[in-house]
């Protein structure tokens, strides 16, 4: 049942759609040892900064290293937590305000496990994966996003 493929790319061009997420949930309904799913979605905020509003984030990444880091996060998550499945998708390119740029999906027989695992994974992605975000304002000026 462990869905542990090596080193597939987690990057997708553009926003991650709600249809894609719904379909991903659907595919897990054949895995009847699962009792709990936990899903994190990162959505681009229309932050207002000095009177200007973010209209999109343009994501780039050091892709080889990022995929390696995603792989390490995946391996250590399966080691630490009793997960049945784990999936990560991150956008590259332009994602508009309101659209989804990060989709992390963990599943396990039991709920305690998925809560711990999901927070661990999302924190690790934010801290360790070389992804860069250019916040584009409505007037086409920009600033560089920094994870806090």
């Amino acid at each position: 049942m462990k869905d542990k493929k090596p080193m597939k790319s987690v990057f997708k061009e553009g926003a991650i759609t709600s249809e894609f997420i719904g379909n991903s949930i659907y595919k897990h309904q054949t895995k009847t040892s699962i009792g709990a799913h936990n899903i994190f979605l990162g959505q681009v905020r229309a932050d207002e900064i000095d009177g200007k509003t973010v209209s999109a984030i343009e994501y780039t990444a050091y892709e080889d290293m990022a995929n390696q880091k995603f792989h390490e996060i995946r391996e250590s998550s399966f080691e630490k937590f009793d997960l049945t499945c784990m999936h990560i998708y991150h956008s590259l390119g332009t994602v508009k305000a309101g659209e989804i740029c990060l989709f992390v999906f963990v599943s396990s027989p039991r709920r305690k496990v998925v809560f711990e695992a999901l927070e661990y994974i999302v924190d690790a992605i934010k801290a360790d994966v070389p992804v860069f975000g250019k916040e584009i304002f409505e007037d086409e000026s920009h600033q560089w996003k920094v994870n806090s």
Binding site: M65, L102, W144, N147
Partner: protein, 77 residues
């Protein structure tokens, strides 16, 4: 030795390019940085980490000839 150097995000804005090959003498990361700082004078205002062969390294790490990347603060998710 000839080293491939990659620039990302706001660092690529400073260097005006996403990668280049540089011929440098043996030494550590710090020595390479001196070369880069004299080549790109606004680089010293910028916050970044350095990866060699896709692993973060410190200033004291010796150059191996593997790919170097200058990585500004991460903003994934």
């Amino acid at each position: 030795m000839l080293i491939k150097i990659k620039y990302f995000g706001q660092i690529a804005e400073v260097t005006q390019k996403e990668e280049e090959q540089l011929e440098v003498s043996e030494g550590n990361i710090s020595a390479l940085l001196n070369v880069l700082h004299s080549k790109y004078d606004t680089l010293n205002n910028k916050d970044f980490q350095i990866a060699q062969n896709q692993e973060l390294v410190s200033l004291e790490t010796e150059l191996t000839g593997a790919e170097i990347a200058l990585l500004p603060p991460f903003a994934g998710g």
